[in-house]
């Protein structure tokens, strides 16, 4: 059986050879990282298929690279990132408490809004600079799958450890462990109101989303009765002293000790927390869960509308390996549908993917600077993807229909313009570096510079017609070419606008 699967995997990867290597390398980096940096595509393409496969395997192994140490050093001043929930409560008290209790601001690190700033900055620093790109992409995927909303009460003080300790360690592990860690987290229990669910006084919120959003999916085959019974099973799962310790705790006295019946599970009522654990394990191994997670991964990495076969193939691996995530990601990577020519560039970037890929493609620095964060915040807010602030438990959508509309496009254009004009304090775009190979050249035609950028920065994804349009647009306002015989130095051309418009092209909105 296993042999057959391995054979099928090798066989399907053979089809990959149909696509030219450069396209393949670009496709891999677009789908499994936050976008290529200059030179990265060529380097990967030169190594051929073995290099591409190795890149993916290295990503699964989190081999890292030269940037990891820098990131660690850069993020060190952001104190909240390493704090326990208890330290968070102590060092980032609510603004109201600071005023009412007359706390000395020198003895604290800040207020909850500072936690959010540091959290957002660390996410973007890692997403843009980390060599473990797949880890960062998947961290976003899984956090979003197990979404919690920053501004719901004490989620503020527990969200950092939630991402760090419940989600991140399990990205390349087992689904069940991540599910269990999310269930046994203060942030999730608070966010989905399980903290208030007691015997004879149940709260259905977490139980419902555990089925609908975390495991089986809404069509996964369960009833309202199953939700109510599960809520009873999970009574007592709560948080110890949310304003001090703020860690997950099972409260025996709040647990419903009477018999319960959920799906095919019967509980005598005597096992306490063990009942909930058994339920979670059962849900994690359910066939509907395999299908639901497979579909979600396929939508994220392969296509907005993946075929049933693709989803089934991935689900099969997930199910047979009992939720082994590395095996599941390999199944995604080796899916035939991923490698179809028509699938290249078929996904639309989310606002986060647009921002991070813009930073990476221009090889900009992203500074771990949590102050003056308004420009970034506003970009995400206007785009409808406020990081850590998705109110509903569904998380953000991964399909184009959600992200593509005129307001959002205008927002992206404005962001690109701000970015190249150095108006975003965290992003340092080194234009000198970008143009250094051509800085002493003289150009007769602006289009030649656009072509240079397209080939050397944008991996030639921008179509000729689009470049012509940018050229016409900028020529209209900058009459540089009245005398065609004259050659002008590079700096005579509107390089800022060129770059911003290239970042705003339809081609660059795709991955």
């Amino acid at each position: 059986m296993n042999l057959l699967i391995s054979f099928a995997i090798i066989f399907s990867f053979q089809n990959v050879f149909a696509m030219d290597l450069k396209t393949k390398a670009l496709h891999v980096l677009n789908r499994f990282s936050y976008g290529p940096k200059p030179g990265e595509v060529d380097k990967l393409a030169q190594g051929g298929d073995p290099a591409i496969q190795k890149w993916f395997e290295d990503q699964l192994k989190q081999v890292g690279g030269s940037h990891e140490a820098d990131i660690k050093a850069e993020l060190k001043p952001l104190a909240s990132l390493t704090y326990t929930n208890e330290q968070m409560n102590k060092m980032f008290p609510k603004e109201k408490d600071v005023e009412m209790k007359g706390l000395d601001r020198d003895t604290i690190d800040g207020t909850p809004k500072d936690i959010l700033k540091e959290l957002v900055i660390q996410k973007l620093v890692r997403a843009t600079q980390s060599d473990n790109q797949l880890e960062e992409v998947l961290l976003d995927f899984w956090f979003n799958h197990f979404n919690v909303y920053f501004d719901k009460g004490q989620v503020r003080h527990t969200i950092t450890s939630y991402e760090r300790d419940a989600i991140r360690p399990h990205i390349f592990g087992n689904f069940k462990d991540m599910l269990m860690a999310s269930a046994k987290s203060a942030a999730m229990m608070i966010y989905l109101d399980n903290t208030g669910s007691k015997v004879d006084k149940i709260n259905e919120n977490y139980a419902r989303e555990l089925f609908e959003l975390h495991t089986l999916g809404v069509d996964g085959g369960y009833t309202q009765k199953d939700i109510q019974e599960s809520a009873r099973v999970l009574t007592g799962w709560g948080v110890e002293k949310p304003k001090e310790i703020a860690e997950f705790k099972f409260f025996k006295k709040q647990h419903d000790n009477k018999p319960k019946h959920v799906l095919n599970l019967f509980f005598k009522g005597t096992q306490g927390m063990g009942e909930g654990e058994q339920l979670i394990q059962y849900l994690s191994e359910h066939k509907s869960t395999a299908h639901f997670i497979a579909k979600k991964l396929a939508v994220k990495f392969i296509s907005d509308e993946p075929s049933e076969k693709t989803v089934d193939d991935i689900a099969k691996v997930f199910w047979e390996t009992k939720g082994d995530l590395k095996s599941t990601y390999r199944a995604v990577f080796r899916s035939e549908e991923l490698w179809k020519d028509s699938n290249v560039g078929a996904k639309i970037k989310t606002p986060l993917e647009f921002l991070t890929s813009s930073v990476r493609v221009t090889e900009s620095e992203f500074l771990a600077q949590p102050e003056r964060i308004n420009q970034l915040k506003s970009f995400f807010a206007q785009s409808g993807q406020e990081l850590y602030r998705c109110v509903p438990p569904t998380g953000f959508k991964a399909t184009a229909d959600y992200w593509v509309n005129p307001g959002a496009m205008v927002n992206r254009i404005n962001f690109a313009l701000s970015m190249v004009r150095d108006q975003i304090p965290q992003i340092e775009l080194d234009k000198e570096k970008l143009i250094s190979p051509i800085k002493n050249n003289k150009y007769k035609n602006q289009i030649d510079i656009l072509n240079y950028f397209n080939q050397n920065i944008f991996n030639s994804v921008i179509k000729k017609e689009t470049l012509t349009k940018i050229n016409d647009l900028l020529n209209d306002s900058q009459n540089y070419q009245e005398d065609g015989s004259r050659e002008l130095p590079l700096h005579y051309y509107p390089l800022d606008k060129m770059l911003a418009l290239m970042l705003s092209t339809p081609e660059f909105q795709r991955r």
């Binding site: 709260n203 919120n205 409808g384 993807q385 205008v410 689009t466």
Partner: protein, 416 residues
């Protein structure tokens, strides 16, 4: 209908011998027709989606129903003395003073035990079912307001038929080729490229920008509005509109303010959609004070401010508030409410029959509750929209807008 038929016949008269007479007659009738068209053509419907399933029983409480009491809602129940009475049976939440003001002016209609017949208690499925206009049917290809646009006449000259003032294009208007979304009117312009000119004279940077991004949008947006970027100019007028009266603070309030500015600028769009969140009150919902009370305050005051801002323009505007489902009749274990079924909607407008509540109220006895726990749905959301669309947009045929559905009753919320 009859008048229209008559005018058509009058048109035929034009080829008959009584030329002078019929010419005069025609010019008069053509004028009448134009006026009528103009009147029918400038109606606007605004749909406000309360996402997260609002507790209808708290928004509009059945104070006359003995079963509504502290036994079922120990911490949520509000003493009727503190509530804003609409009649002897129903009273608004104390935070909804804004809506009470509209009620007193005869501009508010309430609907209770209203919603979708779908059995789903999933926020996300239920919102989709609502917006697609097809309960329990997934993968409907477009929004119900998009199909309403298709039923409307004389939309050919309109630059936009629908607008969504939120970060994404609301599903209610998905598939409409003349739709558009923005989250913030003031930011709907491109920095540093100057104003986008409206005519195509061809030399200014704005124009090139326009054509560049028309292609960009067309390619990325598959099927959405092609001319959206050139519409930046249209909204330039709206950006200049200043609102004098005070709006409360908050995202929803800002959205309604932007909608008021768009309408006041004279840019006509039949359907405008926006949303307001924060209703999923599983825990510590509160009574006259607390979480829900705070959300309702912004909700009601914003709508009241919106009506004031529009002034006489309100003559042509109907605003409907909806939600995906209601919440449990009984309070849950954490002083909140869980996902339920029926809820409460409001309709705001100048041409409503004043001070009406459409409820067909069923008392809150267990046998009357949906699945023994939730507010029932006695009025289908499709009946509500059929009435609004028929009265304001002269739509007669709902077979495509709400496929497979026949209204059980006509609500007749408007003055005829």
């Amino acid at each position: 209908m009859k008048r229209r038929d008559f005018l058509k016949q009058a048109g035929l008269l034009g080829v008959l011998p009584y030329l002078n007479w019929s010419e005069t007659f025609l010019s008069h009738s053509a004028l009448a027709e134009t006026l009528k068209k103009a009147k029918a053509a400038n109606k606007t419907l605004i749909v406000v989606f309360q996402r997260g399933a609002v507790d209808g029983l708290s928004m509009l409480s059945p104070i006359g129903d003995k079963n509504y009491n502290t036994d079922i809602r120990p911490s949520l129940y509000i003493n009727p003395q503190q509530m804003l009475k609409l009649d002897s049976y129903f009273a608004l939440h104390p935070s909804l003073g804004g809506l009470k003001n509209l009620w007193d002016k005869g501009m508010l209609t309430a609907l209770h035990q209203v919603g979708s017949p779908s059995t789903s208690r999933s926020h996300f499925d239920s919102q989709d079912y609502f917006e697609m206009g097809t309960p329990d049917v997934k993968n409907t290809e477009n929004g119900f307001l998009t199909r309403a646009v298709n039923e409307m006449k004389n939309t050919g000259d309109l630059k936009l038929t629908s607008l969504s003032v939120q970060t994404n294009l609301a599903r209610m208007i998905s598939g409409d080729r003349k739709s558009l979304a923005f989250n913030d009117l003031n930011r709907f312009s491109i920095k540093g490229f100057g104003p986008v000119p409206s005519n195509n004279t061809g030399t200014s940077p704005g124009n090139g920008f326009e054509s560049f991004f028309e292609t960009a949008l067309d390619e990325v947006m598959k099927g959405q509005n092609k001319n959206s970027i050139s519409l930046l100019q249209e909204f330039g007028e709206a950006q200049k509109v200043k609102i004098e009266n005070e709006f409360p603070k908050g995202g929803f309030s800002n959205h309604l303010k932007d909608i008021a500015r768009v309408i006041k600028s004279g840019l006509y769009i039949p359907f405008i959609v926006t949303e307001v969140g924060g209703w999923d009150s599983h825990r510590d919902q509160g009574n006259e004070k607390g979480q829900l009370a705070n959300r309702l305050k912004e909700f009601g005051d914003s709508i009241n401010a919106f009506v004031e801002a529009l002034g006489p323009k309100m003559q042509d505007v109907t605003l409907v508030t909806v939600t995906e489902f209601g919440r449990t009749v009984k309070e849950n274990g954490s002083k909140g409410t869980d996902h339920g079924h029926g809820s409460c909607y409001f309709v705001v407008g100048q041409n409503l029959k004043p001070k009406s509540i459409h409820a067909d109220w069923k008392e809150l006895k267990n046998e009357n509750l949906y699945e023994g726990r939730d507010l029932p749905v006695n009025t289908d959301f499709r009946e509500v929209f059929a009435d609004v669309l028929e009265t304001n947009f002269a739509i007669k045929d709902f077979s495509k807008i709400f496929p497979g559905y026949t209204a059980k009753k006509k609500l007749k919320m408007f003055k005829t």
